[in-house]
């Protein structure tokens, strides 16, 4: 077995990056070792084969596409640095109020601590007694008697219970004596009070809720939920998933799949189940046409939790149908449901040019239309076609009518291609938006190919 340093020399020899001295050393090694000669031959053959690997030709001139993208995205030299700078500034800017608040709180805390640590002296027993008289938490004797349960009165005192004040106090140290002064004169005169368990005032105050600093509270559950899509057919799974969807209105659903474009085909087939139309952005269209490996994101809104589940169930059915019983051909297995983060919402807003949440306000007209609003381009086009006799054909007798979409989802190529904001498809999508139905969701559905 060759030593590692010899093997290093041999690989560097193949790279042609040896000094004269190292080269002489390798020559010597090659003369002496058969193993070294064999290894070098193999390494040289591997490198030669690598060099002769076929070089695929570029199928298109990318310059046209790149220059077009520069225009579409309005890119310019130096913009990236400015963007980075502004991102950093924005990042700091968004945190600035919190930093300021935290600093003020810290300074207040520190100042209070310093002030009280200098001015505070422990109270004497007399002071304590005086203050006890006016303590709101120390009830009068009659009230205290009422607060003490009969069970406490009758039961023998155990070690866990409050200690009974001893009758003979002459032998006790002064510290133990002090609690006797907490009762007022009236209380002391009543002989039955002396038999009651003594409750230390200090303990009583520290246990009150109003003085607790870190009280237990319910924390919103934001952990991701992983669900096997096919399992949504089961009643229990469906119910628990529905419950999750009702906890919020903005979600992100990540669907890992083997091939994004193939998975998208399943989405396309499942969409009519909930009368969902798809507006596919230009770059996504190209990639679907070419059947390229692509991740897609669908933004859908105005969809109720029940509709979303129906859609996902159909998605699973379509996946099985298209796979034709071959498990390897199935594209979709599980999904991951998370709440949409503020950043995702901002990204979506910058892409669409508006904040899509909340949805557009309800129209005022009786039929759900706003008569003051001009017709959208799409509606005007459809109306024109209908008037010209080229509209949606009437369903034939005996055939199930094809329902027109009630809402649209925007489909974008998610990664690595970034869609251009303000594209024609995005405008069409914005144009097609309808007022939100109560309880409807905003969903980012990501099809992520491996």
């Amino acid at each position: 077995m060759l030593l590692n340093r010899y093997r290093q020399l041999l690989t560097a020899y193949v790279d042609g990056e040896l000094s004269k001295r190292q080269r002489r050393a390798v020559d010597r090694l090659l003369r002496q070792s058969v193993e070294a000669r064999q290894l070098l031959q193999q390494l040289q053959r591997d490198a030669r084969t690598l060099r002769t690997l076929p070089r695929p030709a570029l199928s298109e001139d990318l310059s046209v596409r790149i220059v077009r993208t520069i225009h579409e995205r309005r890119l310019a030299p130096g913009r990236r640095r400015l963007a980075n700078l502004s991102t950093n500034a924005a990042w700091f800017g968004s945190l600035a109020p919190y930093v300021a608040a935290a600093t003020v709180l810290f300074l207040l805390g520190a100042a209070s601590y310093l002030y009280f640590s200098v001015t505070w002296t422990p109270p004497t027993t007399t002071e304590l007694a005086k203050s006890e008289k006016i303590l709101p938490s120390s009830p009068p004797a009659t009230d205290r008697a009422a607060l003490t349960s009969p069970l406490e009165k009758d039961e023998p005192q155990t070690a866990l219970k409050e200690p009974i004040k001893p009758k003979d106090q002459s032998n006790l140290p002064a510290v133990v004596e002090t609690p006797t002064v907490v009762h007022n004169e009236g209380e002391r005169s009543k002989p039955k009070d002396t038999d009651k368990p003594f409750v230390e005032p200090k303990e009583e105050t520290t246990l009150t809720d109003r003085l607790e600093m870190f009280q237990l509270d319910r924390v919103p559950d934001t952990l991701p939920v992983v669900v096997k899509v096919a399992d949504l057919k089961q009643e229990t799974r469906r119910k628990s998933f529905l419950e999750e969807l009702r906890r919020d209105t903005n979600f992100r659903i990540e669907v890992p799949c083997k091939h994004g474009t193939k998975a998208f085909e399943r989405v396309r087939r499942a969409a009519p189940t909930i009368q969902l139309g798809l507006i596919v952005e230009k770059q996504a269209q190209e990639r679907i046409k070419m059947k390229w490996h692509t991740n897609y994101v669908l933004y859908l809104e105005n969809v109720t939790p029940e509709e979303l589940i129906r859609f996902l169930q159909q998605l699973s059915d379509e996946d099985r149908k298209l796979a034709g019983g071959k498990a390897l051909e199935e594209q979709i297995d599980r999904l991951v449901l998370t709440r949409m983060t503020e950043k995702q919402r901002k990204d979506l807003s910058s892409l669409l040019g508006i904040d899509p949440m909340p949805s557009p306000p309800s129209s005022k007209g009786p039929l759900g239309t706003d008569p003051s609003k001009p017709l959208s381009d799409q509606t005007a086009r459809q109306l024109g076609l209908a008037l010209a006799g080229q509209g949606t054909p009437r369903p034939e007798a005996g055939k199930k009518p094809v329902m027109p979409p009630e809402r649209f989802a925007l489909v974008l190529a998610y990664n690595p291609v970034r869609p251009a904001p303000g594209s024609e498809e995005i405008k069409r999508f914005l144009d097609s938006r309808k007022p939100a139905r109560p309880g409807s969701l905003h969903v980012l559905l990501v099809l992520r190919g491996s």
Partner: protein
Amino acid sequence: MSADEKRLIAECNQGNTEAFGELVRRYQERLYHCVYRLVDNVEDAQDVVQEAFLSAYQSLDGFKGDSLFFTWLYRIAVNTAISLKRKRRALARIETGDEGERTFEPADSSEDNRPGYALEQAELERRVHDALNRLSPEHRAVLVLKDLEGQKYETMAEILQVPIGTIRSRLHRARLELRALLEKSEEAK
């Protein structure tokens, strides 16, 4: 850097996108070959090249001409390709539960077996291609830059932004790993 290249870059900085189109036309093929071997997928390679050019365009005003324009371009593209490959490998690990047993796309053996190649050579090429795909993105990058692109250690260090010693040791490990993978495939034959 040639005077013509300098002129084109200056024009780009003044907002002339056609000048940048010219730079793209000059280097796209070469960059594509390199990136293709790193990502092993036509679509990804095109996307990476496009993104690299777009990034380069946006950072063009920061290019001082200390290195060759193409080396600078290489650096952007190779790093983009490596991070893409890393992400894909991480996902593959989650999905398959093992490391490197599965490639993302089956090797297109038909391309290697086209007429004109001796059968043995084609078989070797296919195995080298497969083995290359199974290397880590960093090891693959050094082999591609060295053997396919014929770059020197110094340039490679500049492109990958690591010391020359790292390049040397990465290449050493990459070659031995490639050899081990090839031996394994020879045994399995």
